[in-house]
């Protein structure tokens, strides 16, 4: 290395040390800048490589998670599919239990009332059943709550029986208590309070009973497969007309047990009217039932000829009802005992009814006569839109207000049994009434 000596203070060097020093400084500065630039570039490159590695690791992890999730879903679906038949069977069993329960529940309530009436058995003046109705408590929520309205007649003081009945039905309240020529008439009602369970909860019950899938609560993945609609025989989206016809024929065959005195009409709903003698009262239980049909109303009226005039009405129902009282997994023996007690209670009441002389019902049930309703309402319009329930409009002749009715609605105690373009059919017990349309074309002018 050739270096020109850099002179100190008061020293002389004529050799180009200054240019040399400047060039050396320039080289050093250039090297420094290059080193800094290289360091920065290396740092950036290192960060880039590190970032790319992290991104790759993240992508790999996400890919692994995705693959694991897909495998888990496939495994879950395979497990779910393998248990399809068993769950289908359980579902059908649950639906059948529910249907059986729904078929027996009105009669169980009737038998409880008859049992209470039998508590004063032996006495001539014991309370007697005049009418009994099973109807939805709320017109907007037809399936959620049911109401039992009954009318009894007696001669003895009614307070003792009422006290006993209140112990059985704490929510029962008296609607009317009318003195008659002989004795009194008492009309009371009570509402059944079912424990509402949703359809999804019912489906989950089946899933939990199957023990096919155990989902850890701490894991955030969706482990429960989507609801499986294929096992539902009558789902909302698959209204099966042949199945409905089949279930209707099954219900019609069940109605044959009441003999030939059954008048069966079918429009949007199914209406059955029949008369039963005391020897046939126990045959009323269970109520005929079939998949796709829901018992919307049941009324029993005591006819003067010692017969029950029974009127039943069913509405088409797309899904099995899980909104009524949940069916406990009773044993067969318990169910059989319940059924036997129900029928025996009815039989006992029928036997007592046969041996004593029933006083003729001088006063018919205080119902609104057809003429009164026909004078009170007028059919003015009808609407049938695809995918919706047919509705009709009735105009009140008293105050001019419009009432929109569907099948199953109750107007002044009368139940709408069918809605059509030509008129509305109303039913009250065994009585039927037809409200024809007031105009021939279009919507009637108000």
């Amino acid at each position: 290395m050739l270096v020109w000596y850099q002179p100190k203070v008061n020293e002389v060097n004529f050799l180009p040390w200054l240019e040399h020093a400047i060039a050396h400084q320039r080289r050093k500065r250039t090297w420094l800048y290059s080193a800094v630039a290289a360091t920065v570039l290396l740092g950036l490159a290192w960060f880039g490589v590190l970032y790319a590695g992290l991104q790759q690791a993240q992508a790999d992890l996400q890919q692994q998670l995705s693959n694991s999730s897909v495998q888990l879903q496939l495994l879950q679906r395979s497990v779910w599919a393998s248990s399809l038949e068993r769950r289908h069977k359980q579902w059908l069993q649950a639906v059948e239990r529910q249907r059986q329960f729904n078929a027996w529940m009105p009669m169980a309530q009737l038998s409880k009332l008859l049992m209470q009436l039998n508590t004063l058995s032996g006495l001539v003046s014991e309370p007697k059943l005049v009418s009994w109705q099973w109807q939805p408590a709320n017109a907007a929520q037809l399936e959620l709550q049911h109401q039992v309205v009954f009318t009894i007649a007696g001669q003895k003081p009614w307070q003792a029986w009422w006290q006993q009945a209140l112990k059985v039905w704490p929510t029962m309240h008296m609607e009317t208590l009318e003195p008659k020529a002989v004795g009194w008439h008492l009309k009371a009602s009570y509402t059944l309070q079912p424990q509402t369970i949703s359809k999804g909860a019912a489906a989950l019950l089946i899933v939990e009973n199957s023990h096919s899938i155990s989902s850890p609560k701490t894991f955030d993945l969706q482990l429960t497969p989507p609801p499986y609609d294929g096992i539902r025989p009558n789902s909302v989206n698959s209204i099966n007309r042949p199945a409905m016809e089949q279930s209707f024929s099954a219900m019609a065959s069940q109605l044959e047990k009441y003999g030939q005195n059954v008048q069966m009409t079918r429009s949007q709903s199914v209406q059955a009217n029949l008369k039963l003698g005391p020897s046939q009262w126990a045959l009323l239980a269970p109520i005929p039932s079939a998949d796709g049909w829901w018992l919307q109303g049941l009324s029993i009226d005591q006819a003067p000829s010692n017969q029950w005039q029974v009127s039943m009405q069913w509405l088409p129902h797309n899904e099995p009802s899980f909104n009524v009282v949940p069916v406990e997994p009773f044993s067969e023996a318990a169910q059989e005992a319940t059924h036997t007690s129900t029928q025996s209670s009815i039989k006992r009441y029928a036997n007592l009814f046969e041996v004593k002389n029933l006083e003729p019902q001088s006063d018919p049930p205080s119902k609104t006569s057809p003429k009164v309703v026909a004078k009170a309402f007028e059919f003015v319009g009808f609407s049938a839109q695809p995918g919706k329930v047919w509705v009709a409009w009735l105009r009140s002749l008293t105050d001019g207000s419009l009432v929109q009715v569907e099948v199953g609605h109750i107007v002044d105690g009368w139940r709408v049994s069918s809605v059509g373009a030509q008129g509305v059919s109303l039913t009250l017990g065994s009585q039927q009434m037809w409200l024809p349309r007031a105009c021939l074309i279009g919507v009637c002018k108000l």
């Binding site: 000596y5 020293e11 004529f14």
Partner: protein, 218 residues
């Protein structure tokens, strides 16, 4: 890197060059010689003396090394090996011009480079010569007395070319300075067999130029 560490422990050699009228006289001093181990690090020994005619050196094209200078370089290379060589060249006073440098107020903070350019312009203005043709050094003798020592650039170009050839001929590093012989009037050259070769009287200035590198300046 290892080579640099090894050279740290190697003592340098000192070469003094005296530029006389038409001659260059060189004296090489050194401590570490193979045949004089006893005087190591005690007194410098004269390891060589040379005399070259300056006219023969300057007559040849600057791109080639003159033969006489090449012979000197060859002998030097054998003596110094890989050791560094410090060279001090003394030029005659007649080739230098001493200018009185009036103190000027400093304007702001100036770097030594800017001072150097300023002194070069000042000397060029005083001598009516282009600044690029001058070499200027500043001497501050007292607070109110300072001089600019000026020489022409062609002198240091010639010496620089010779030193470049010398650097290319030896293995070690070369640190060189070109300075006026100054006010040196009497030179006492050492005598004795333990000082290496016997110094020729004509080489006394060259010995002085080499020896001043070894001792710190007062």
């Amino acid at each position: 890197m290892l080579r640099h560490f090894v050279r740290w422990g190697v003592k340098p050699f000192y070469l003094g060059i005296d530029w006389q009228v038409d001659n260059l006289r060189m004296v090489l001093l050194g401590y570490d010689t193979p045949d004089n181990k006893a005087h190591k690090k005690t007194y410098p020994a004269i390891l060589g003396q040379w005399h070259v005619s300056l006219t023969t050196l300057l007559a040849i094209d600057s791109t080639e090394t003159p033969p006489a200078w090449q012979a000197f370089i060859t002998q030097m290379g054998k003596l110094v090996g890989v050791s560094p060589v410090h060279v001090s060249v003394g030029i005659p006073n007649r080739l230098c011009t001493w200018l009185h440098c009036p103190p000027e107020p400093l304007k702001g903070k100036q770097t030594p480079d800017e001072f150097g350019l300023h002194y070069q312009r000042t000397a060029a203005a005083a001598l009516n010569i282009e600044p690029i043709n001058l070499r200027v050094c500043h001497l501050q003798l007292s607070s109110n007395l300072s001089f600019l020592v000026v020489t022409k650039r062609r002198y240091d170009d010639q010496i620089g070319q010779l030193l470049t050839n010398l650097h290319e001929g030896i293995e070690g590093d070369l640190v060189a300075a070109l300075q006026p012989q100054g006010l040196t009037q009497v030179v006492f050259a050492p005598k004795g067999a333990d000082r290496g070769q016997e110094l020729d009287d004509k080489n006394a200035m060259a010995w002085f130029m080499a020896n001043r590198l070894m001792a710190p300046s007062c």
